[in-house]
């Protein structure tokens, strides 16, 4: 991992890897959508609305994964002063916020026909909403200072503090017996879901993961370039003065 802590080396890796990630994302999502919309059966209870799950569940997983990436990057930025850690965290946050929003919206669309309400104040829903606010707070704090270095460090501390919410979301359905159904895929005794539904779900999850990786490479590259331009401009100004 340390090899990639060097921004220039990471830049080369990102440039090569981005198209592969993008291609893998397209393949997985295309195959996942075919299985999800055509090849998988409608649920015996939920009917066709079960297909919302193939977007909802992967985006929920991604929301948590990306937050962990943001916090991990922040930790490496604060503890080991890796410049790349902060760049990755900064680049990942808006993507994670978008996945969280997708998760909340698709959940709401599914909740209306199933539970009869767009929104219920259940432990899982509330903790995901808090996650969304944490993403927004992180991004707001990044932009709130005149000095970007100061903003980056303050936001890193916030990202680490917010990490307490991740296990709460993961186990909220086990700790509190509420409306949201308990975990059915990541279980000790194997997934409690039929393979005709598990295949599209996992394909979509892999597709979302590759999509995130491709977007992250793109955004990290843009961020490194921006910093380089800023450094060059500063150097040019100093040379003039």
């Amino acid at each position: 991992m340390h090899r990639f802590a060097n921004p220039a080396r990471f830049l080369r890796f990102a440039t090569v890897a981005m198209p592969w990630f993008a291609a893998a994302a397209i393949v997985c999502i295309a195959a996942g959508l075919w299985f999800a919309l055509v090849a998988s059966p409608a649920d015996y209870q939920q009917g066709e609305t079960v297909r919302i799950m193939y977007v909802h569940v992967p985006s929920a997983w991604m929301a948590l994964l990306v937050y962990t990436v943001v916090a991990g990057g922040s930790i490496s930025a604060l503890v080991w002063k890796h410049p790349l850690g902060e760049i990755v965290a900064r680049a990942a946050a808006p993507i994670g916020a978008a996945f969280t929003l997708i998760c909340l919206i698709t959940g709401s669309l599914w909740g209306k026909p199933m539970w009869g309400a767009w929104w219920v104040w259940d432990a899982r829903l509330t903790s995901v909403l808090v996650l969304f606010f944490l993403y927004l707070g992180y991004m707001a704090l990044l932009g709130a200072f005149d000095d970007p270095v100061r903003g980056g460090r303050a936001a890193s501390i916030l990202a680490i503090v917010g990490l307490v919410n991740v296990p709460i979301i993961k186990w909220s359905v086990d700790w509190w017996n509420t409306l949201h159904q308990p975990a059915s895929v990541a279980r000790m005794d194997g997934p409690a879901i039929h393979s005709s539904m598990l295949t599209p779900l996992l394909l979509m999850a892999a597709g979302f993961g590759f999509y995130f990786a491709a977007l992250l490479m793109l955004r990290v590259r843009a961020e490194i370039m921006t910093r380089r331009v800023r450094a060059l401009r500063l150097a040019a100004m100093e040379a003039e003065a």
């Binding site: 707001a140 916030l158 503090v161």
Partner: protein
């Protein structure tokens, strides 16, 4: 320990001589809570049902109101830098300032709560539990808020930002604080909820000063 008490005494003395800050927080608490009967109607049963939630939410907002000033004055006049350069650890500094803040803003809220409970027709059985829950919950809120207050030092629109950062984290305190009172009113044991509040206080006490101290240190670099 001497430096700790010195900072505590200094903050208390400053606040008492300037006056007004703690009084303003309590005034806001009472005013905001007494708006609810106008908003939802003065029907006693309805008020009794929502009283615990109203008192908790307004207490939460009142604590937030005073928090953006926790480190701000010291940051602006440079004394924060001096305190961080002193042998007293930054973590102890945060705890001392939080304790002072709680004595000035949290404790008055708890003292004012019975009056509000009376206004809002809270059933009498709920009152002792409400006070116990506030006594456990408000220090947690101050400690969580201290992280936010340290993070937004030097930021644009720090006060608003502070609310955005801290309010999501305070949700568990609110949930268990209200659940304790509601359980007591319904004749159920409130003890489990109070224990969770106590656990939240201990966990925050163990973690928040370190996060706030890290935020303070990078604010003066």
């Amino acid at each position: 320990m001497r430096a700790f008490t010195a900072i505590l005494a200094r903050d208390l003395r400053l606040a008492l001589r300037q006056g007004g800050d703690a009084a303003a927080v309590v005034l806001f608490f009472v005013l905001a809570a007494s708006l609810f009967p106008f908003g939802v109607g003065p029907e006693p049963n309805l008020l009794a049902r929502i009283a615990s939630g109203v008192i908790w939410v307004t207490a939460l907002l009142s604590v937030m109101l005073g928090l953006d000033r926790l480190f701000l004055a010291d940051h602006e006049d440079g004394s924060l830098e001096a305190m961080l350069a002193s042998p007293l650890s930054a973590v102890a500094l945060v705890v001392a300032k939080c304790l002072a803040q709680w004595l000035l803003c949290g404790l008055p809220l708890i003292l004012a709560a019975p009056v509000l409970a009376l206004f809002l027709q809270l059933p009498v059985e709920g009152l002792p539990i409400l006070l116990a829950a506030l006594a456990l919950g408000t220090p947690t809120l101050v400690l969580m808020g201290a992280i936010g207050a340290a993070l937004v030092l030097g930021a644009r629109r720090g006060g608003i930002l502070l609310a955005l950062l801290v309010l999501p984290l305070t949700v568990p305190v609110l949930i268990f604080g209200v659940a304790a009172v509601d359980a007591a009113i319904a004749g159920l044991p409130a003890r489990p909820h109070l224990l969770v509040l106590g656990a939240l206080l201990l966990a925050t006490l163990a973690a928040a000063p370190f996060a706030a101290a890290a935020a303070l240190r990078q604010s003066v670099e």
